[in-house]
Amino acid sequence: MMTFLALFWSFLKIGIFGFGGGYAILALIENEVVDIHGWMTTTEFTDIVAISQATPGPIVINCATYVGYTATDSIIGSAIATFAVCLPSLILASLAARFIYKFRDNKYVDAAFKGLRPAVVGLILAAGLTLINHDNFTDYISIIIFAIVAVCSYFKVNPIFLLMLSGIAGYFIY
């Protein structure tokens, strides 16, 4: 019972304080589950990160589900940790949406968004740039896949279809 409560509390904190999306949250999760609670070792944690990258879905959800299970040996633990990590989002993001649509016509809110749009373009570009590294680009084939997908994506080919195709290509090429 105590472990369930501790899990809930830990992942609630992770959901609240994790600024800057998936990868920035990893350090926070490591601190909670490895250093503070000792639910797993650093090696196990690294494995989870690898598994998270090899499976679909948001990394935080993946971590919460996995740690929740290993720490309690039950699906309930998984569900509690996953719910806890989503809870702040459910509250914060729906409040934000409510606020934005209520004040959308306010001239200051409108002006703020005019300033935000070019910055958002830069932020997404930044996310793309940080992913151009040796983990994602192992050889010239990676560059070819990148180029083909880039062109297809420019001509609006469905991204899910492109991902599946790249996976199949990877399987046969490597």
Binding site: P56, P58, I61, A93, P118
Partner: protein, 177 residues
């Protein structure tokens, strides 16, 4: 409606490899291009808002879009849809086997997927730039933001605050003239 939302976000959750930003092109396809639940501008505004909130942007986006479309139940259904595929898959992995990352087949498939994910994040930036009405005169803004965030480690949260304040300031100055 709720069922349509659930299916759309289930797809989004099932095909997002490598974190929140990889989700963006797929959300855009489902929510803006296919179902017209949000306009392109609304979508960009959503991105600005969710990036300034603490917590995972993937879940934030699902909740935000869900709320816009069907209020409370919409946000709940979208978050559940986006989280469910990973929940089930990870649970199976945790229960059945733990060495998936050493599996040679999986590794091969992912060697193909990883560069594709990067391309799917970078290319939509061109379309977003059009939506944001970026001209040669304002091109420095996204470029500068990308450089300080990607290579100098600035937090996106500060950039958002700064850009919002900048937008308000700019509109005030223009009015004075």
């Amino acid at each position: 409606m709720l069922l349509k939302l659930f299916i759309a976000f289930f797809k989004i959750g099932a095909f997002t490899f490598g974190g929140g930003y990889a989700m963006i092109p797929i959300i855009e396809k489902e929510v803006v291009d296919k179902n017209h639940w949000l306009s392109k501008e609304e979508f960009m505004d959503m991105l600005a808002v969710v990036q300034s909130l603490p917590g995972p942007i993937s879940i934030h986006s699902s909740v935000y879009i869900g709320y816009k479309i069907s209020k409370f139940w919409g946000s709940l259904v979208c978050a559940l849809g986006a989280a469910l595929p990973s929940f089930v898959i990870i649970l199976l992995i945790a229960i059945v086997f733990t060495d998936i990352q050493d599996n040679p087949t999986i590794e091969k498939v992912f060697k193909g997927i990883r560069p594709a994910v990067v391309a799917l994040i970078v290319v939509p930036v061109i379309f977003m730039a059009k939506t944001a009405k970026i001209t040669w005169k304002t091109l420095w803004i996204p470029v500068a933001v990308a450089i300080v965030v990607a290579y100098l480690g600035f937090s996106p949260a500060y950039i958002i605050l700064l850009a919002g304040a900048g937008g308000i300031l700019f509109s005030l100055i223009r009015k004075d003239k």
